[in-house]
């Protein structure tokens, strides 16, 4: 009896060891950030302090915008509910520190993807959710209709800690114009100072100009000049070193864009399960095992489309219908003359 007991114990021990080993490797596949997020029950998302169309809170504290929708998509994918997001408003100066120090897990704050940011400071850009470029806003009454009319001594209001400051220098230097940069920490103060007449021009990303124009005391008195002086691909950012989490955020965004390409909307997503197109069926979780690699179930992408909508719906709801930028320009699908083109979900 005791002889068997001893053998039984070692068998149990061996099974136990094996079992721990296998669960350990399964868990290792999941990322640390994913595990923490699921444990907390919400996605920690860094957004702007208020940029209409991108990330803006209404009086009741509800956040809307295309940047906000990226975080909501991730929440729908990993937690099953797009509303389980905790938004942290950040200034341009605070945003990267908040991400690298672990205060937030996704930075979705109209952030320009550049080489030095990607390589230097422990960040990884996962994609582009808005193709933008820097422009200038002036008062209509100034009679300026093009940047070629800028003269020596012009004063330009802008934000600190952005690529804007660098582009502005490159632009004015290349034109040989001396200028006075007036750089504030918060966007609201830039708008207030420009609106008061402190500066002749206000420069930032064109989407930002269009959005901030709505905050001016009289929006019709201002125009955005046609010239674009830089490339500003804006997109969500994650911390370096968690490639599974990086993939989840990247493919949550890609899912929204591909859903638009395949004609799947929040309204018809469920009925698309019986579609004849295998690509459509994969994107609504009716075929394939697309979630397994992330440690997610198979309907993660269906939830994104149902709860947040495809990219086109998000754009229309946040940017077009609010009158900020009705024309999608480069942010149209590649099949419709834009440059939105994402790798296939398969």
């Amino acid at each position: 009896m005791f002889k068997y007991l001893k053998q039984l114990t070692s068998l149990v021990a061996m099974v136990a060891v094996l079992f721990t080993f296998t669960t350990e490797t399964m868990a290792a596949k999941k990322s640390k950030t994913l595990k923490n997020t699921q444990k907390k029950g919400f996605v920690r998302c860094g957004v702007s302090q208020g940029l209409p169309g991108f990330s803006n809170a209404d009086a009741a504290g509800n956040w809307t915008g295309v940047d906000v929708d990226v975080c909501r998509a991730v929440a729908a994918a990993v937690l099953g509910d797009a509303n389980k997001v905790k938004f942290t408003p950040l200034s341009a100066k605070e945003r990267f520190t908040a991400l690298t120090s672990g205060e937030i897990d996704i930075l979705s704050r109209n952030t320009t993807w550049t080489l030095s940011r990607d390589a230097d400071i422990g960040l990884t850009f996962v994609g582009v959710n808005f193709y933008d470029g820097q422009g200038f806003m002036v008062r209509k009454s100034s009679g300026i209709t093009s940047t070629s009319q800028f003269k020596d001594g012009i004063s330009a209001c802008t934000n600190i800690g952005t690529t804007t400051e660098l582009n502005m220098r490159d632009f004015f230097n290349s034109k040989g114009i001396s200028y006075e940069p007036v750089a504030f920490e918060k966007a609201d103060e830039v708008v207030a100072a420009y609106d008061a007449g402190r500066c002749d021009t206000y420069t930032t990303d064109k989407s930002g100009l269009a959005a901030q124009r709505t905050k001016m005391s009289n929006p019709d008195e201002h125009i955005v000049l046609p010239e674009t002086i830089s490339k500003e691909p804006l997109g969500p950012v994650v911390r370096q070193g968690d490639s599974v989490w990086e993939d989840i955020v990247r493919w949550s965004l890609n899912t929204m864009i591909e859903a638009e390409e395949l004609g799947i909307t929040s309204a018809n997503a469920d009925s698309m399960k019986t579609s004849d197109n295998p690509a459509v069926k994969r994107l609504v979780g009716a075929e394939g095992e697309l979630g397994a690699a992330f440690g997610l179930d198979n309907e993660w992408n269906l939830r994104i489309i149902k709860q947040v909508g495809n990219y086109g719906e998000s754009y229309k709801r946040n940017i077009a219908d609010t009158g900020i930028l009705p024309d999608r320009g480069p942010n149209e699908l590649w099949t419709k003359g834009g440059i939105l083109y994402v790798p296939p979900s398969r």
Partner: protein, 383 residues
């Protein structure tokens, strides 16, 4: 000396605990930075900064290094602190004395000023002076000239620039006048102590400081001309002034709010100092025939200063540190330029924040040392 464990034991433990805590934080930061692929190092200071700054006391543009940008920010911080300290001190002393005035109106007005300005948060005052007052200023094309040559506009204060010829001769003449005044004062003091005779030092001093520089104009070949700011049109409704010196409104608003705020605290220090001098001192001084001015200057103030200086030092330190609120209104101080833009462009958070902290520490300690030295100088000399 005979050390006992019970004496040094607790101290050893304290030192050990401090070392351990610091060691833990350093180690923790190192591990986390390594995990996240962040390099540590101060090499970036020599790299090209590639951003411009609105207002700088030294020559600077984006082709200079980050270290140069640091200096620009530091000098701007020192500039606004010095302006603030000077104005706050003058205003503080006047208001402090006014609060003790027997004149009801002056007395109450000073009290109202102190209570009003010291009870509103500084950041709010800065916003008020910058945004509310700025909006009230005219656009450059609508500005009325002050004294015919200066313009206060929404884009800043434009004043004439001094164009000197043979400036160093003028400078030496001023230096010579100052030295002469010091010599005469020392001599006059000796004469008074030995013979009881008074010399009209003030009159002689004023004469010297006027006559010597005047001579440098008349026979030294010094010439001074003014470059007056001229309105220039940039676009239909967009103007600036060219030529002359322009002070950005950010500097004016910040210096104004810092000095108005700090002056209230200094005024209280001054009042406390004067009231701290015993009544008997004034009565004794009056009884030996000193007039009220002499009582204040020779008897009350020297004693009051000993009470005033230490708390005023704190106010100077506060003002210097409060100047970092500049970032809110775009005045390019150390925090905005270095701990703001430079930090964002390089991502070197630990390095830049540590340099900035160390810089403020050095600034504060310098002010402390200076004020302690002055305090010691005016302290009672025990004989």
């Amino acid at each position: 000396m005979n050390f006992k464990l019970k004496d040094i034991g607790p101290q050893l433990i304290t030192v050990l605990a401090v070392v351990l805590v610091f060691g833990f934080f350093t180690y923790n930061a190192q591990v986390n930075m390594e995990n996240r692929g962040i390099d540590f190092g101060y090499g970036f200071l020599s790299q090209e900064s590639s951003f411009d700054v609105q207002f700088s006391l030294i020559e600077y543009d984006g082709s200079h290094s980050y270290f140069r940008a640091y200096l620009v920010g530091l000098l701007n911080t020192i500039l606004v602190s010095v302006i603030g300290i000077v104005i706050a001190t003058i205003l503080g002393v006047i208001v402090g004395i006014a609060r003790l005035s027997p004149n009801y109106l002056i007395n109450k007005f000073a009290a109202f000023y102190v209570e009003f300005f010291r009870n509103i948060p500084l950041l709010l005052q800065i916003f008020f002076w910058y945004f509310a007052a700025l909006r009230a200023l005219p656009l450059p094309q609508d500005a009325e000239p002050m004294f015919g040559v200066s313009y206060l506009t929404i884009k800043g204060l434009y004043v004439p620039a001094f164009i000197w010829q043979n400036y160093n001769i003028f400078f030496y003449s001023v230096v010579a006048a100052v030295i002469a005044i010091i010599v005469i004062r020392t001599y006059a003091k000796k004469v008074q102590e030995n013979q009881g005779k008074q010399t009209p030092v003030l009159l002689i001093s004023i004469g010297l400081i006027l006559i010597l520089p005047l001579l440098s104009f008349l026979i030294g070949g010094v010439r001074l001309s003014f470059e007056v700011p001229v309105l220039k049109q940039l676009a239909t409704t967009s103007f600036i002034y060219e030529g002359g010196v322009s002070l950005p409104p950010e500097l004016i608003a910040l210096a104004l709010s810092l000095s108005l705020y700090t002056a209230t605290f200094i005024a209280e220090c001054v009042r406390a100092g004067i009231q701290g001098v015993g009544k008997g001192q004034k009565e004794a001084a009056a009884s030996i025939g000193l007039n009220p001015n002499q009582v204040l200057k020779l008897v009350v103030m020297p004693q009051a200063l000993r009470i005033i200086i230490p708390p005023t030092t704190n106010q100077y330190l506060n003002l210097t540190k409060n100047s970092s609120l500049a970032a809110a209104i775009a005045y390019p101080d150390l925090v905005l330029v270095f701990a703001g833009t430079a930090l964002m462009q390089t991502g070197k958070a630990i390095e830049i924040v540590s340099i900035t902290m160390f810089t403020y520490l050095t600034l504060s300690i310098s002010i402390s040392i200076l004020m302690n030295w002055y305090n010691k100088k005016i302290a009672i000399q025990e004989k």
